[in-house]
């Protein structure tokens, strides 16, 4: 770590380091853009893992979590504070890390931080005419300010960018999202194939897509705001309601983050159970993804085949957790209930039938010439773009980017089990789809190794009655079904968090919709979306 410190001091002598779980560098706003460039190009921090808007009272700012793929996935935190609270601005890094494009729009939406040089500084979740920035501590939540508006947004084609003039004042430059005479088709918010309440505005030339504009926030629930008023055990259930197809992994991540802050040792039995549940969840998610991809291509029958097997996983969840969705199973220190007596039998049955069923899927769907024509070579996403847009999970691995958090930062018992990280170099929808199908096999492999080796013991550790985290900030990542899921907690030592941020993989996935869909046909937009496999509640936290 000291080695890294020296290197950072070399590129930025004014760096102030703060001790924490990982190296934290405080950078002054005026130097930030140059430092960011050096961090990326000279020190190899090529992935922007998380961008967390912050309100520290005296000023607003942003926490950046940077990962370097060339340094064994070392993570550093960078703290940048805006110079003033009113009219706060920070230089945009969206030209360095493309993933920051939507992340900065979210931070602007929630905190009102203007990102200088960002090409498209619109609100991301809220309406254009929303008054105030909800995650600021001085936000006025009076319903009279923001009534339920019955009229449409009038200026949805207008955007702007901010720049600094010679006196260091922020200047607004208007821009347009679409040209006047473009043929813009709405895909969503109510549409059979957006997998939820999502809206894409696609500008078409005949049947060819020219540009896709993502309009999000239709089901935004303000989870991050809600958590600030709740105690730690109370915020757990939100994670099951974000990416409901990664409920166990997400909740696992939040619990791990809190356990890390508390310094809590989780019993081994709970660790194994958590790992198994994560993998079952992954199987269930990938089966749903298989079904939806088939469905979006019009192969409705294959969809039912996927759901037939998914039902078995849900039955396993129901027996142990008491619910088929929103399981609420992980708790701080372990899991809430012991395994059902049938658990091992059911899991073994699932592992037994899966290979045969996967073969059936390939016969019915993946081997079909029409399906191949629709998926192969469609939605090209190069490895460089996948890294730059931080596309993790099966979609990133379909672009041959080795980004599996279970291998890079092993947690629970993942370092004790054998499994392969599936990498395909197709860079297209078919590769992403096939990675998922092969990951089902790997998940079965993990389950097979663990199912007979569940140790006896406690299912959760002793935790204090009132959970108070020490002051500090923590960032924890896990491999959810759709990519790397991160939880950021900042605490002031109180029993409720000062700030919680969820870094969801699907948020990054919609970020590449424009890149992957442009130049393909409108029918491909649907299949690209299906193969990227985003879940809307995960975007609209």
């Amino acid at each position: 770590m000291s080695d890294l410190k020296e290197q950072i001091l070399k590129i930025y002598p004014d760096a102030v380091f703060e001790e924490g779980e990982c190296l934290q560098v405080n950078v002054a706003e005026k130097d930030w853009f140059a430092v960011a460039g050096s961090l990326k190009n000279e020190l190899g921090f090529d992935v922007l893992s998380a961008l967390v808007g912050m309100d520290w009272g005296e000023s607003l700012g942003v926490m950046y979590y940077l990962t370097s793929t060339s340094r064994q996935w070392t993570v550093i935190a960078v703290k940048v504070m805006a110079e003033s609270r009113d009219d706060a601005y920070i230089h945009s890094v969206s030209s360095l890390w493309k993933v920051a494009n939507f992340q900065e729009r979210e931070a602007y939406d929630m905190f009102g931080i203007k990102f200088i040089g960002h090409p498209d500084m619109r609100r991301f979740f809220l309406r254009n005419d929303w008054v105030g920035h909800p995650l600021r501590k001085d936000y006025d939540a009076d319903p009279a300010l923001n009534p339920i508006r019955m009229d449409d947004e009038t200026n949805e084609d207008e955007t702007r960018s901010f720049s600094l003039d010679a006196d260091g004042k922020v200047v607004e430059n208007p821009g347009k999202v679409f040209e006047e005479n473009e043929y813009v088709v709405n895909i969503g918010p109510q549409h059979p194939s957006t997998h939820g309440v999502m809206r894409f505005r696609a500008s078409l030339d005949g049947e060819t897509v020219k540009k896709v504009d993502v309009v999000s926030g239709y089901i935004h629930r303000g989870i991050e705001k809600l958590t600030e008023k709740m105690t730690y055990p109370q915020i757990l259930h939100f994670t099951d309601r974000m990416d409901y197809m990664s409920a166990h992994q997400n909740r696992h991540c939040l619990c791990m983050c809190i356990e890390k802050a508390l310094g809590l040792e989780v019993p081994r039995r709970a660790q194994v159970i958590r790992t198994m549940m994560d993998e079952l969840m992954r199987i269930s998610s990938h089966l749903l993804s298989f079904g939806c991809t088939a469905m979006d291509l019009g192969a409705t029958t294959a969809f039912f085949y996927g759901f037939r097997e998914r039902e078995m996983v849900l039955d396993i969840f129901e027996k142990t957790c008491g619910a088929r969705m929103s399981m609420n199973y992980n708790v701080i220190g372990g899991v809430i209930a012991d395994l059902h007596p049938d658990f091992q039998k059911d899991v073994k049955e699932l592992i037994r039938i899966m290979p045969e069923r996967l073969k059936e899927y390939h016969t019915v769907f993946s081997g079909n010439v029409i399906a191949k024509n629709r998926l192969v070579g469609v939605g090209h996403l190069s490895k460089e773009d996948a890294v730059n847009y931080a596309i993790t999970g099966p979609s990133g691995r379909g672009s041959n980017w080795s980004c599996d958090c279970r291998k890079k930062h092993p947690y629970a018992v993942y370092n004790e089990v054998e499994f392969d990280e599936i990498l395909l170099d197709g860079c297209d929808s078919y590769a992403r789809y096939m990675v998922r199908m092969k990951e089902i096999e790997q998940s079965c492999r993990i389950l097979e190794q663990l199912v007979d080796n569940i140790p006896e013991g406690d299912i959760r550790a002793q935790v204090p009655k009132i959970i108070k985290l020490p002051a500090g900030r923590w960032y924890q990542q896990v491999e959810a079904s759709r990519g790397t899921f991160g939880v950021y907690i900042e605490s002031t030592g109180d029993k409720n968090p000062y700030r919680v941020h969820f870094q969801s993989p699907c948020f990054n996935l919609v970020g590449v919709m424009d890149l992957t869909c442009s130049g393909y046909m409108i029918a491909d937009l649907i299949t690209i979306g299906a193969a990227l496999d985003f879940v809307i509640p995960d975007i609209d936290r």
Partner: protein, 359 residues
Amino acid sequence: MFDFGKWTSAFNDLLLGTGMADWLAVLIECVIIAVLILGVYTVLALFYILYERKLCAWFQCRLGPMRVGRWGLLQVFADMFKILIKELISLKGTDRFLFKLAPYLIITSSVVMLACLPWGNGLQIIDWNIGIFFVLAVSSVGVLGILLAGWSSNNKYTLIGAMRSGAQMVSYEISLGLAIMTIVVMAGTMDISKLVLEQADGWFIFKGHIPAIIAFLVYVIAATAETNRGPFDLPEAEHELTAGYHTEYSGIHFGFFYLAEYLNLFIVSGIASLMFLGGWMPLHVPGWDGFNMVMNWIPSPVWFLLKAFFISFVIIWFKWTFPRVRIDQMLAFEWKYLMPFSLANLLLMTVCVALGWHF
């Protein structure tokens, strides 16, 4: 085989026997036939809806409708009444006249085609020397209805759906026509009743061997595309265009599109059975007199319907198995492969006929 023509001519004699004028008798007959056609149309549509729903349920490890009536048999009637009493919503910015005209154009073209089918021995409604040509001509009117529906709705989805539909139907009509032409070359007639009678000593698919079998395959593919069914259901493409050209329709106007879709499925199956599988002709094997006798006892309309249902089954099977193709792939398939192939096949058939190589 029992000749149903006896009944119809007996009825005609009965009317004339009352001393009424010729034109009046014809008028009364026409009205009765029209009512019968519409009745058959509705019953067949209801049957097809249930048929497809049950078949697709079985493909998908489901039971399908089970609640209304035994095995859900009455479900379609419930659906029909629901659709009849629904409000006809008219939207702002639509072309009112064309918007309302479109469903009637579609339903008219499919009713007329239905009337051309050879229902049984002597049960031919429209029968003249250009019969099959007339069917092809009428089928093209349907595409006009789809185009108008898509255009007049003033909706981007419907417009894309209609344009796709137009491109698709115009393209695949060529292969469809060429496949039918292949058989016409062999039969030497376009008259529907003569086409059936020609097959008394063997169905065309057997008589015309290789070129006829190729024409049959081409026909089934082109017919699937003509009826806008999967894998060629791009004009509706539920997952891209919500419901394609009929997105904005409600109530019975939507019902017309829905009925026409199912009836077109029956009609293309009926034409396939007419052109390749002998229409209402029973299956005869030369030399097996006992077998042929038994086959003759089965009434001719049953033969016709069973053959049509069988081909519909195949087309439904396509739909519930294959993913949807993309517009460029679909057009490339037609213009680059299917059409040249069927042209070559037509040539092959002509050579076969000229040299007498068919049975």
